[in-house]
C-alpha cells in the first residue's frame, strides 16, 4: 500500500488544483482585509465614539422623561435608572476623552463598571430598556446572558491589561483577524465548499484521466487503493489549508502586528453562564472541528466516487449534503431532538463552538464524535459497495 500511497501523492502534488484551492482559501480569509483596503484605522476612535453616542442617547431619553408631567412612580423609577446609567457612561466618556492616549486600565475599569451595572439592572428587571453600546457589525441583544458575557469579557480585559479589539476592527492584529475571520466573517460553509471542490476533483482523477482500468487491474484490494487515496487527501488538503492560515497570519501580522492568542472570546455553553475562551483555545477547537468535518467529507467523497463517474455529479451531491447543514435549511422545519446525532448539525463549526446555534446539537466534543461515527458508518457503506461490485463481476 506504501507504493500506492506514494504514486497517488506524487500525482496529486502535480495537480494545479492545489494552487487554485490554496488561492481560494487565501482570498476568502483575506476578504476582510481587502474590504478595509485604503481605509484609515479609526477603530479605537469609533469604539470610544460608540460609548459617547450611547451617553448622548441616554441624555435624550432623560430629557424626554423629564418632560412627562405629572411623573408617575414608574416614570420616576425609569428616570432614576437612566440617570444611573448615564453616570456610568459619563465615566467612560471622561476617561476616553484623551483618545488613543487614554489610560487603558482606567478605560477597562469604567467599561467593566458599566457592564456590571447593566447586568445588575437586567437581573433586577429583565425588561429594562438599557442603552446598549452599538459596536459596528455586532448585533445587540437585551438578553441577560449577553450582559453576563459583557461582564466576564471586560473583567478578563481589565485583569489582563488588554485593549478591547472590536470584531469590525480595521487593522486587527493577526491573532484577532484570523479568529474573527473564521468565527464571524467567512462562512464555514464556504470553507467546507472549497474543500469539497478539491475532494471532488481528487477522487475522480482516475476516471477523468482514463486511468481507472490501471487501478482496477492492480494486484491489491480496492479498499487498499481507496485508503491510499484517503491518506493522500489528508496529506495534502489539510496541510494546504493550514499553510494558507499561516500565510494569512504572517501577511496580517507584518502589517497590523501579531496580537495575543490569550485574547478573550465570551461565550456560553448552557445559555445561563458566561465563560471565556482564549483565541488560542478557539483555534485549537476550530482545527478539531475542521478535521472531523474533513474526515466526514473525505469518506463521503470516497463513497460517492464509487457511484458517480463525473466530477460535477460528485460536486453537486456533496454540496447538497453540505447545504442540509445551513441555518437557512435548518430553519425550515421544526427539528426533532434526535437531529443532534446527525453530522449535518455540526457543519457550522463557529455556531457549535460558541454554542450560538438554534437547532438541537451536542457540544463540540459530542459533535466531533458524531462526525467521526458518521465517517465510520460511511466507511462501512464504502466497504459494502466495493464488496458488492466484486460480487457483480462474478457473473454466472
Amino acid at each position: 500500500m506504501g507504493a500506492q500511497y506514494r504514486i497517488t501523492l506524487k500525482r496529486s502534488l502535480h495537480s494545479v488544483t492545489n494552487l487554485v484551492i490554496a488561492a481560494a482559501f487565501f482570498l476568502l480569509l483575506m476578504s476582510t482585509s481587502f474590504s478595509h483596503y485604503g481605509q484609515q484605522d479609526s477603530t479605537q476612535a469609533d469604539l470610544y465614539g460608540a460609548y459617547a453616542t450611547a451617553g448622548q442617547a441616554v441624555d435624550k431619553t432623560i430629557t424626554g422623561i423629564e418632560k412627562i408631567k405629572p411623573a408617575s412612580a414608574s416614570v420616576k423609577a425609569e428616570l432614576r435608572q437612566k440617570k444611573q446609567e448615564k453616570d456610568y457612561l459619563d465615566q467612560i466618556t471622561l476617561v476616553t476623552s484623551g483618545g488613543l492616549s487614554a489610560n487603558l486600565d482606567e478605560v477597562n475599569r469604567t467599561v467593566l463598571a458599566h457592564a456590571k451595572y447593566s447586568l445588575r439592572a437586567t437581573e433586577k428587571d429583565p425588561h429594562v430598556q438599557l442603552q446598549l453600546i452599538k459596536y459596528q457589525d455586532q448585533p445587540t441583544s437585551h438578553k441577560l446572558i449577553e450582559r453576563k458575557k459583557d461582564v466576564v469579557f471586560h473583567t478578563y480585559l481589565y485583569q489582563h491589561h488588554m485593549r478591547e479589539i472590536p470584531i469590525a476592527a480595521i487593522k486587527a492584529p493577526a491573532a484577532n483577524y484570523l479568529s474573527d475571520a473564521l468565527l464571524y466573517h467567512v462562512s464555514p460553509f464556504l470553507i467546507i465548499a472549497v474543500f469539497i471542490v478539491w475532494l471532488a476533483e481528487f477522487f475522480t482523477t482516475d476516471k477523468r484521466e482514463g486511468n481507472i482500468d490501471v487501478t482496477n487491474t492492480l494486484p491489491m484490494g480496492k479498499m487498499k487503493v481507496l485508503i491510499a487515496k484517503i491518506g493522500v487527501a489528508f496529506t495534502i488538503a489539510l496541510p494546504l489549508f493550514c499553510l494558507t492560515l499561516l500565510a494569512v497570519f504572517v501577511v496580517i501580522g507584518l502589517s497590523n502586528g501579531w496580537g495575543s492568542l490569550q485574547y478573550p472570546i465570551a461565550y456560553s455553553l448552557d445559555g445561563q453562564h458566561a465563560a471565556i475562551m482564549q483565541l488560542g483555545e478557539f483555534l485549537l477547537m476550530f482545527l478539531g472541528a475542521l478535521v472531523a468535518i474533513f474526515c466526514f467529507f473525505v469518506m463521503l467523497s470516497a463513497l460517492f466516487s464509487l457511484i458517480a463517474s463525473k466530477m460535477s455529479s460528485l460536486l453537486v451531491a456533496e454540496l447538497l449534503v453540505l447545504l442540509t447543514g445551513s441555518s437557512f435549511m435548518l430553519g425550515f422545519t421544526k427539528l426533532s431532538p434526535s437531529f443532534r446525532f446527525l453530522p449535518t448539525a455540526y457543519f457550522d463549526y463557529s455556531a457549535v463552538i460558541l454554542n450560538s446555534h438554534t437547532w438541537p446539537s451536542l457540544d463540540l466534543a459530542g459533535g466531533i464524535n458524531v462526525l467521526l461515527s458518521s465517517t465510520l458508518a460511511l466507511l462501512g457503506c464504502t466497504t459494502f459497495v466495493i464488496y458488492y461490485r466484486q460480487r457483480l463481476l462474478r457473473r454466472n
Binding site: 504514486i7 506524487k10 500525482r11 490501471v214 487491474t217 492492480l218 494486484p219 491489491m220
Partner: protein, 228 residues
Amino acid sequence: MLEVHDLSFAYKDQQIFQHLSFTIQDGEIVGLVAPNGTGKTTLLKLLCGLLPTGIDTLKLNGLSLHAKRIAYLKQLFFLESSNQLYQDLTVKDHLTYVKAVWHSKVEIEPVVESLGMVGYYKKVIKDLSLGMKQHVLLAMYIISDAQTMLIDEPLNGLDPTSIQEFEEVFLQLKAKGKSLVISSHQMDSVGRTCDHVFFLKNQTLHNVANTGQDMMSVYNHFFPKAGA
C-alpha cells in the same frame, strides 16, 4: 498456464463472444488478430477481470479470478495503451511503482539500459514521443515479472529497429517461461514471434498454429477484402 472455459460476453444487445474455451501454456506466445472493433481489447479486458465473467471461467496457474482475484492479478500484467500512463510522472516513477506493487525482483536499471531508455528515464511521460511511451510500457511489463502478459498492439508508433527490439524482448520473455497474449495488426511480426494465432471472427476464436506459413494470407482467408 491460463485456462479459459466457456467465456461469453455481450455488450448491450450485441454478442461479442460465445462459449470461448482455450488454454495458453507457460512459455507460449499467442497472437490475437482481428480487424478493428471486433473485440480484441474486450477479450484482453475480460482476461484480467475488467469486465464481468462467469465464476469458473478464468484460471491462471490454477487460481480462479473470482476466488483469488489479487493472487490472480499478481501473476498478470495488462496496460491497455500508453495513454493510461500518468502524464505528469516520470518514467522512473512508473517503473518503481510497478516493481513495488508486483513485488518484482527484476532490477530496473538493466532493463532501462537494455531498452535504450537512459536518456529519458527521468523525463515526465507527457514529454515523450509515442515510440518512447511504448518502450516505457514494455519496460513495465518486463519489470512486473508477471507470469502472463496481455499486450495490446505494442508495435504501434514504433520504427523498424524498435519493432525488432520488441520482438527480441518477446522471445526472451518466452524463453523465461512467460506467457504472452499479443494483439496486433502487424502480420509479419505475428508470424515471427507467435506460436499460435487466435483469429477472432463471428464471436469465436480460430486457433491457427504457426508453422511458418504466410500469416497475411491466413488473415486474408479469415477476413477477405470487401469485393474480393
